[in-house]
């Protein structure tokens, strides 16, 4: 325990193609996740890792659990991680690794990454010249189908009341179905522009708020030159699809395609 706490760990942000001094220069001055140790490159043959030494005590199981359960600290870590990856990506093709990927020192890092060298090189091939875009589709909460009908009069009999409930349920199901179909159409169009696609988890009402329901959360790997086409396609979809709200985010480093991705 004591021994581990006294040791520095190697935090790995990303794996890049060697770029001479470009990557190192791009990382200069970044604080990373654990200053004061600098963010640096670690050469390993055909790959270069972007790493930082961090105190083992900060990343022991319980310490990490506590930090990532604290919203402010989680956000700080995630943004620091993202900042380093974004900087590296500007210098050379970069495969991002997940938050808090840690090894017991540089030698272990080399050993572990070397074992995955082939798949990392394949991933680098796939993401070179490409970026990730995020597309989310939300169903908007519907208005009651017949807002004009006076509730008191319409529900005068038990039968009318039940009919209202059924009709309301039907309306809900129809809206949900329509939103899902709209999401599929959006996905189909965007996949047509992408070289790989991946579905991410949907966000619950805690995140989206009560007025809309998340029906598509997808990531697409796309050639850098496609941005204009993507925006135009989404603008057109946005005009056609009235039941849903479409959100675009990006360009991201290819987080969702660290394995190179599968064809759409």
């Amino acid at each position: 325990m004591t021994m581990i706490q006294d040791t520095a760990l190697t935090y790995v942000f990303a794996v890049c193609r060697p770029s001479g001094e470009r990557t190192a220069a791009a990382l200069g001055g970044l604080a990373g996740v654990g200053p004061p140790a600098p963010v640096r490159t670690l050469a390993m043959g055909p790959l270069t890792a972007v790493v930082q030494d961090v105190p083992a005590a900060d990343y022991a199981e319980e310490a990490l659990r506590q930090r990532l359960s604290d919203r402010a600290e989680l956000e700080r870590c995630a943004r620091a991680h993202h900042e380093v990856i974004t900087a590296a990506m500007a210098a050379a093709p970069t495969v991002p690794l997940p938050l808090a990927t840690l090894y017991r020192g540089d030698e272990r890092t080399r050993e572990a990454l070397r074992a995955r060298e082939d798949s990392l090189l394949t991933a680098l091939d796939r993401i070179t010249g490409r970026v990730e875009w995020g597309v989310k589709v939300y169903a908007l909460a519907g208005q009651p189908a017949t807002p004009a009908s006076a509730p008191g009069a319409a529900a005068a009999t038990g039968r009318a009341y039940l009919e209202q409930i059924r009709s309301r349920r039907r309306g809900r199901e129809e809206r949900q179905g329509a939103a899902l179909r709209a999401a599929e159409r959006v996905d189909t169009v965007v996949r047509g522009l992408a070289v790989a696609a991946r579905r991410l988890r949907l966000h619950g009402a805690e995140v989206t708020g009560p007025r809309r329901t998340h029906v598509l959360n997808a990531a697409y790997l796309m050639d850098r030159g496609r941005e204009r086409q993507l925006r135009a396609a989404l603008a057109s979809l946005g005009r056609d699809e009235e039941a849903v709200e479409i959100e675009l985010s990006g360009p991201w480093a290819p987080y969702s395609f660290a394995d190179g991705g599968t064809p759409p």
């Binding site: 990927t101 995020g134 479409i246």
Partner: protein, 74 residues
């Protein structure tokens, strides 16, 4: 109906400011990892994602409403 985006900067830019945290977490806590670290693997059984999202959700939005509910009077 709406197309919203924060990424108006060119792809080379050093990342947009104000990247939504929930979208960022979707990515930096991604599953389908190609590389496993020495230590995180130890707590991978308690998925980092769930742990972290709990922290996020507990402060992002206190309102919890079931989707697809109608708000109009019956």
């Amino acid at each position: 109906m709406t197309v919203a985006a924060w990424g108006s900067a060119p792809a080379e830019a050093h990342g947009p400011i104000g990247v939504p945290l929930v979208d960022l977490l979707d990515r930096v806590l991604a599953t389908g990892v190609v590389v496993s670290g020495d230590l995180v693997i130890a707590i991978a059984e308690v998925p980092l994602v769930r742990l972290s999202l709990h922290a996020l959700l507990s402060s992002v939005n206190e309102r919890v409403a079931a989707p697809w509910t109608d708000s109009g009077p019956l």
